[in-house]
Symmetry: C2
DNA sequence: ATGAAAGCGCTAACAT
DNA sequence: ATGTTAGCGCTTTCAT
């Protein structure tokens, strides 16, 4: 296939393999400029490309990072995968893709497997509330970045969390809804157990309290399938639909509904329409995440944007931070500033 | 990290590394059952896991396949990535993810890079009309599957194409629209140059001709950004919006619009609404692909489903088919049966 | 039935 | 400034 080895280059350039290797690894100071040029042009002429497997075998560090997501079929994770891969590419890294399908056992197995493949950096988008099971791996030198998750008390030392500031994001949305004139606002989500759900709800409450508004209706739908009450794409939308239907047909229907994420918001929109009302007029609907779909949906969804590209780049960078092995160092969190995106699904309440 | 080598196992079990290796590679016939059991339990006790890099260095065949897509941020490719990874997992393979961002240079570079990393199997979702540039690699033993693309006259020998039957899919949709009573039906797409666009248009025409309907309006929007007139997600929707607006405000507006894919159909829906009409009543809109979004959109989109899961599994299987090296063998195509999915965006035309 | 040993392509001491 | 060389962990002849 490629066939050309470092030895071929060395011979053709009339130098030793060490010199070629030194050049390849940036130790250019150790040779004459003329030698360097000769070797460089030989590499080009021969079309030589280093063999990653051999390099990895020798150094123990593959030029590959692992990405474990619930499912890249979901646009939110798809966007992360895209931007993470782009960031990795700038440093010559590749991305190994793993879909956990929200199965904790599979998630754990993937991490173990990646580690024993020699991979030293993993971006993990876990469905698990606790990451204790990876603390041993981190102690052994694995760089682990938890994405879409904020720091927890029992986090393993050395874990880096990358997330949007959910509390502030939800607070922004709460303020937006209040400033529009809404007073009866409902919050819709699955069972509030996951970290970011809890935070979003807290931020939302804070905005309402500041405005002196009574505790809002909260509709939480118990998880049906998976153990921790998380849902897939379509299930999230269905959850929104069912929950909103209940709210809208109840005794004191809200004039605005804030859904825990865009998929759920879309389900809420459907329920509103099914009830014969218009989203953005009779009922305002807001989401969270700003997936591509939010812009394309009809009506275009008001939501809270996560700066995905920057977050992905930061996650990749965190993978490269020096492992410090200090058992006393603190877990780190990288919180990103969310942005309120006002579109057509929210408006002032009608009379 | 993992640290345990085949030598550790051999020593602990009191055998040689060859025996352990033989066991690992299924050559169990070459040892006594009792030896085998002893080694197997030692492997378990020690938690030994073979080092992929070393295995690859030795065999030249990594347990990794490459996937090159325009962008996993797009739900269509995200779905492929998800199912391909699932199929690969069943055989112990991992998937290396590459986003070409529809840049031909980047696409080519990725393929070259994967090959020189020793990867022997690639699923390529190319934006390029011709795949001639990879014929050399295929001759050298690369297994190359082109996804979402049907066979072409100048295809390199050994290339396997996996695709839905676009012609039949579009024909099904054409029949559906005709049977609903539509007579003035427009087709909307980007510049009709790509293979599957051409096929979809041809299938659509066939259905209309069979029904004795005059040649339909066709609105094709010239590509703006990339060389071959393809668009990204949001651009596809925008294309649909602009094209449909032109049709709807023209002299003889169609009662139904068939878009080349779901994203474009969504843009068409927006234009319909912007024109003060209701999708699924005044104007029927149909798409193609059946991305997740189609089901969630409002109204739910009538479209043509591609059996993604089966197609991904087939693509992975094709990667394993024996390379035959026979320069006389024909390029192969795997065509999948599309399925008409009727939802709410199409209906009989009003008076 | 089992073992010994030669590399796969590369990096990094350690020479010179 | 450049070269020599010993492995990294594994598979696979070739012996025994």
């Amino acid at each position: 296939m490629a066939g050309i080895t470092i030895l071929d280059v060395a011979r053709a350039a009339g130098v030793s393999t060490s010199t070629v290797s030194n050049l390849l690894n940036g130790r250019t100071g150790r040779m004459l400029p003329e030698t360097r040029e000769r070797v460089e042009s030989t590499i080009r002429d021969l079309g030589y490309r280093p063999n990653r497997a051999a390099r990895q075998l020798r150094t123990g560090k593959p030029q590959v990072i692992g990405l474990v997501v619930p499912s890249v079929g979901n646009p939110y994770w798809g966007a992360l995968a895209r931007y993470l891969e782009a960031a990795a590419l700038t440093e010559g890294y590749h991305v190994l893709l793993c879909n956990s399908e929200r199965d904790p056992a599979r998630e754990r197995q993937y991490v173990d497997e990646l580690v024993s493949d020699g991979i030293r950096g993993i971006v993990l988008c876990s469905s698990l509330p606790s990451l204790e099971h990876v603390s041993g791996l981190i102690e052994d030198g694995l760089r682990l970045v938890a994405f879409d998750r904020t720091a927890q008390a029992d986090d393993p030392v050395g874990l880096v969390n990358v997330s949007v500031d959910n509390t502030i994001g939800a607070e922004l949305m709460g303020e937006h809804l209040v400033s529009l004139g809404h007073r009866r606002i409902a919050f819709v989500s699955g069972a509030i157990r996951s970290v970011n759900r809890t935070e979003r709800f807290a931020g939302f409450l804070r905005a309402l309290e500041r405005a002196g508004i009574a505790r809002p209706d909260v509709v939480t739908w118990p998880g049906s399938s998976s153990a921790d009450g998380t849902f897939g794409d379509v299930e999230a939308a269905e959850l929104g639909r069912v929950a909103a239907t209940e709210l809208l047909t109840g005794p004191n229907p809200p004039s605005a509904i804030f859904a825990v994420n865009d998929m759920t918001a879309i389900g809420v929109c459907r329920a509103v329409r099914d009830a014969g009302m218009e989203v953005g007029r009779e009922v305002s609907v807001a989401g969270f995440d700003d997936i591509v779909l939010a812009e394309l949906y009809s009506p275009r969804l008001t939501t809270v944007r996560q700066p995905m590209k920057e977050m992905a780049a930061a996650a990749f960078r965190a993978l490269h931070a020096p492992a410090d092995g200090q058992p006393t160092s603190q877990a780190t969190s990288l919180l990103f500033r969310p942005e309120l995106v006002v579109r057509d699904s929210t408006a002032a309440p009608v009379a």
